[in-house]
């Protein structure tokens, strides 16, 4: 049987931890939108790259040039939702590390998606069978089921996500370039359920294929 004094001190410690957790949560959620010493940046995501420890580097093309966001894993899972072409607003502090400067968002509430990538450009609805009739570079939105999802490592050392797509009308190959997909995309495609893909028409080995920009 657990000694009362031992259980008592453990209980007090857990209680103190709970109070600290509640105070931390309250402090996180009561931060101002633009705390002192922080800057706000708005722009289109041009590159998304995972870094050690589950963090992300996100390049934003803003009015004054490009700015790299450093998304620490301590911000939570929101970072996985960032997709190339999205418009995001970030409020954070500028830090330099190894001669490069990064913007670290203050908290996950200070990183907001203003518009998803597919609202920035016009994607016409299409089926896989009609892709061959469209010019290269045409932007399409298709509903299809992914299969054989795998990472392809190029000679240049890049990791691209390649897969097959099928719908009731036909099939085609598809690719997501490194820097344009996230683990969330990989997981969604890996489920094999029907998804909406935003892509550009391309040609691979004489057949129409898709360069996918985003998945929903």
């Amino acid at each position: 049987m657990v000694d009362r004094s031992k259980a008592g001190i453990a209980g007090v410690a857990v209680l103190a931890l709970l109070v600290l957790w509640a105070a931390h949560r309250h402090a996180v959620h009561s931060l101002p939108d633009l705390p002192d010493g922080t800057v706000a940046v708005e722009g289109v995501v041009t590159y998304v790259r995972p870094i050690a420890g589950g963090g992300w580097l996100v390049q934003l093309k803003a009015h004054g040039g490009t700015r790299t966001l450093l998304l620490s894993p301590r911000l939570g899972e929101l970072a996985h939702l960032v997709r190339k072409g999205d418009v995001w607003r970030a409020v954070g502090t500028v830090r330099s590390w190894r001669d490069k400067s990064y913007l670290e968002p203050v908290s996950r509430a200070h990183l907001r998606r203003l518009a998803p990538f597919h609202q920035q450009e016009i994607y016409s609805e299409s089926s896989l069978a009609t892709l061959g009739r469209l010019p290269e570079g045409a932007r399409v939105r298709v509903r299809a089921r992914p299969a054989s999802v795998r990472i392809y490592r190029s000679r240049a050392g890049k990791s691209h996500l390649v897969f097959e797509l099928r719908d009731d009308t036909g099939s085609c190959s598809a690719i997501m370039w490194e820097g344009t997909y996230t683990p969330a995309d990989e997981a969604l495609l890996g489920k094999g359920v029907e998804v909406t893909l935003f892509a550009e028409v391309d040609e691979y080995r004489g057949k129409p294929s898709l360069v996918v920009r985003g998945v929903e």
Partner: protein, 460 residues
């Protein structure tokens, strides 16, 4: 000016080392807070770095004195600590010699390794960065294996696991919490109240709670028997691991080494443990500083303080800093060899419970003034958590879960998932430099309050 900084560093390290419950990170954090003002007066970053390195080294060698001679509780869980076993028999001098010799040998080994690495790097062989990169791929598994062994071999594994996990959750909360103003980059960030509570205040409270106990008269004439090199050699290597890699603490590695030496008898076990721990601490302090130059990472309180005012220390500066660490260690060794009876009699003349109360008041006020009410809450929580291990009888080193759990999550890539699940998303606020005048006044007020408490409560 550098020599003056060295001497001040030695004195600061001696004071923080001899006063129970005070960590060297307190003086280095204070100095980092004053750094902008001191640099404004024309002091170079190198001069400030010499202060920090010499203070850290002297503290490492002297902190064993209050641990051995002022913190000998009557509780059975403490009786297992090897140094206390010797002190209870009146062999405090031997315990001190073992620890200081271990420290010194660990320091020498660390110096040799760092100089060899620098020489190899100068010759074009890059060793450390590829090695740490390779290790980082396996880090989560290595640390998981280490904590599995540490918990499984604990006398109370269930409680050990409880302390480890709760300290880990505590670590997830305190790293980059907005409760402490100034952000995670501030010299006095949330780690200061967390560590002060977890390891400092809790130990002082326990010492205050125990009944008065007669201490055996201590034999302080150091014998000249040759001491083995193996524990110091292992400790030096262990210190390198602790200093360069994140997560593990000196206590964890010392316990792992002690497990490997089980069955050699309590006497040899105690001696080896003391030498190994000393060597780990010294080598860890040295590698923690060197990591800033060698792998561009801050791995100790001293290197965090250095990083806050010295953007990119070069390799030549590192060699000079290592030389100042060696000089500080040599001075301290001589001081301890020659004056430890006087130091001990001075310590024994102090009223221990009053000294503990005074230190507790000093630390509490430093936390309150330096980190605000939010930091004080972190301090209280850390103190409560720090009390659990000694009360339930598991290893105190399990509280290093504070660093271990967040490090394992980071290297396994699960941080984002876990912080979202627990609602512990952190905050990156800009560092707000504390005013040097405010820090000086805070330190003075806390010291005066502690002194007043001592004077009020001491007998006579």
């Amino acid at each position: 000016m550098t020599l003056v900084a060295f001497l001040f560093g030695c004195v600061a390290g001696l004071v923080t080392g001899l006063v129970p419950g005070i960590h060297v990170n307190l003086s280095t954090a204070l100095l980092a807070g004053w750094a902008p003002a001191l640099l404004g007066f024309g002091l170079s970053p190198f001069t400030l770095a010499v202060f920090i390195v010499s203070a850290a080294m002297v503290h490492t060698l002297t902190e064993v004195m209050p641990t051995l001679f002022l913190g000998v509780p009557g509780d059975d869980s403490y009786a297992l600590l090897p140094g206390h076993r010797l002190v209870r028999r009146g062999e405090g001098g031997h315990a001190l010699r073992l620890s200081v010799t271990g420290c010194f040998r660990g320091l020498i080994l660390g110096l040799v390794i760092i100089l060899a690495i620098l020489a190899l790097e100068a010759g074009g062989f890059r060793l450390l960065e590829p090695m740490t990169e390779w290790l980082s791929r396996w880090m989560a598994w290595l640390l998981l294996a280490a904590i599995a062994v540490l918990v499984a071999t604990d006398e109370r594994p269930a409680w050990g696991l409880f302390v480890l996990v709760s300290s880990g959750v505590f670590g997830l909360v305190v790293f980059a919490t907005p409760l402490v103003p100034g952000g995670s980059q501030a010299p006095m960030n949330a780690l200061f109240p967390a560590l002060t509570g977890l390891f400092g205040a809790s130990g002082l409270l326990l010492a205050l709670a125990q009944r008065d106990q007669e201490q055996a008269p201590q034999e302080l004439d150091f014998d000249r028997r040759p001491l083995p090199w193996t524990p110091a050699f292992l400790g030096g290597l262990g210190g390198m691991v602790v200093g360069l890699l994140p997560g593990l603490g000196g206590g964890n590695v010392a316990t792992l080494f002690a497990l490997g030496r089980r069955g050699e008898g309590a006497e040899r076990d105690s001696e080896s443990y003391l030498m190994t721990t000393g060597a780990i601490n010294a080598s860890d302090a040295l590698f923690g500083i060197a990591a800033l130059v060698l792998i561009d990472r801050a791995r100790s309180g001293a290197s965090v303080a250095l990083e806050s005012f010295w953007a990119q220390p070069d390799r030549l500066s590192l060699v000079w800093l290592l030389a100042s660490a060696l000089a500080a260690a040599m001075v301290t060794r001589e001081v301890l060899w020659r004056w430890s009876p006087a130091l001990l009699s001075g310590l024994n003349r102090l009223e221990l419970p009053s000294l503990n109360r005074a230190t507790l008041v000093f630390l509490s006020l430093m936390v309150l003034f330096g980190t605000g009410p939010g930091g004080f809450l972190v301090f209280i929580c850390g103190t409560c958590l720090g009390l659990v291990a000694p009360v339930v009888g598991c290893r105190r080193a399990q509280a290093m879960g504070l660093f271990l759990i967040p490090t394992i999550l980071f290297f396994s890539g699960y941080t984002a998932r876990v912080v979202t699940f627990l609602g512990l998303e952190s905050v990156n606020l800009p560092a707000s430099p504390s005013s040097a005048g405010y820090l000086a006044l805070s330190g003075l007020a806390a010291f005066l309050a502690g002194w007043a408490v001592y004077a009020w409560t001491a007998r006579g």
